[in-house]
């Protein structure tokens, strides 16, 4: 069941959904809550930039194997900040992929039995902006800022103002039961990030 605006506000009031900073009234639609673009956008480095960082003797061309990539390397090596314009905005060039982040910290405690989905907004979609690529689920138990996988399909650049632009919407859904979490056999054998 998808939560309505009133139900979302009620769950926030009861601290069963935590949004920090709190959302103003106009960010609620009938069945979703709009979130704002955060202060950082990251772009993936070019092959040339990555190659420059590699020690001599590394296999060329560089190929990234997602199943074997080290998380620490993933976090610290493949992306760099997208510079901001003098007015504080980001300009997202056509056919450009970047990682963004919501301004709001979101927490969905397990006991709340609430999960969510991050979705785009229609105005931005019509301008060619995609804000997530295949990863919309915010699982029950999540705590953090939501990472956005953004791509500009348009043939023109888009100016995006952090802290001001409602970049995505969050749709909340109620679970039937409190999630049990990983079963014992899984956590005992777990070796890496899933």
């Amino acid at each position: 069941m998808i939560l309505s605006d009133g139900e979302i506000q009620e769950e926030i009031r009861r601290k069963r959904i935590i949004i920090d900073p709190p959302a103003s009234e106009e960010r609620y639609t009938t069945s979703a809550l709009d979130l704002l673009l955060g202060d950082e956008l990251l772009e993936l480095k070019t092959l040339e930039e990555l190659a420059k960082d590699e020690p001599a003797g590394v296999e060329r061309p560089l190929i990234v194997d997602p199943a074997r990539v080290d998380l620490k390397v993933l976090l610290q090596k493949y992306a760099k900040p997208l510079p901001r314009e003098t007015d504080g905005s980001f300009v997202l060039q056509p056919r450009k992929f970047v990682l963004g982040i919501t301004r709001e910290y979101i927490e969905l405690p397990r006991r709340s039995k609430i999960a969510a989905r991050v979705e785009g907004r229609s105005t931005l979609a019509r301008l060619g902006l995609v804000v997530h690529l295949t990863a919309p689920t915010i699982h029950a138990g999540f705590a953090g800022h939501i990472i956005l996988e953004m791509y500009n399909f348009a043939s023109f650049p888009l100016r995006l103002f952090p802290g001001n632009l409602a970049i995505c919407q969050l749709i909340f859904e109620r679970l039937g039961r409190i999630p049990k979490g990983p079963v014992r056999t899984r956590y005992l054998k777990q070796k890496s990030i899933r």
């Binding site: 990682l99 705590a143 979490g181 990030i193």
Partner: protein, 97 residues
């Protein structure tokens, strides 16, 4: 030894490094059998001895949520954020603070 209470929060030792975004931190928890578990969590869940610099890791602690408490061990969840689904670990209770 700490008293581990189901549903309570505690912290455990870990290594901490910077994430992609300034609000993220990577953590590495080393289990007694030598296995290392990595996770990316919101920085409000980590307590570094000092702020990590790019490419380095520092000692610190990460908040965990106690799922089950046994005589000598506890099953805990790491905070669940984007790149993880809250790795669940069984650790000696002596590691909890």
């Amino acid at each position: 030894m700490s008293r581990a209470i189901r549903g309570a929060e505690a912290t455990i030792d870990c290594k901490i490094f910077l994430g992609m975004f300034s609000s993220e931190r990577g953590v590495v928890v080393e289990l007694p059998d030598g296995r290392k578990v990595m996770a990316v969590v919101d920085k409000r869940y980590v307590f570094p001895d000092r702020e990590p610099k790019p490419g380095t890791e520092v000692d610190g602690r990460v908040k965990v949520f106690i799922v089950e408490s046994k005589k000598d061990t506890a099953i805990v969840d790491l905070p669940q954020a984007g790149l993880t689904q809250g790795p669940r670990l069984e650790i000696p209770r002596t590691l909890l603070r």
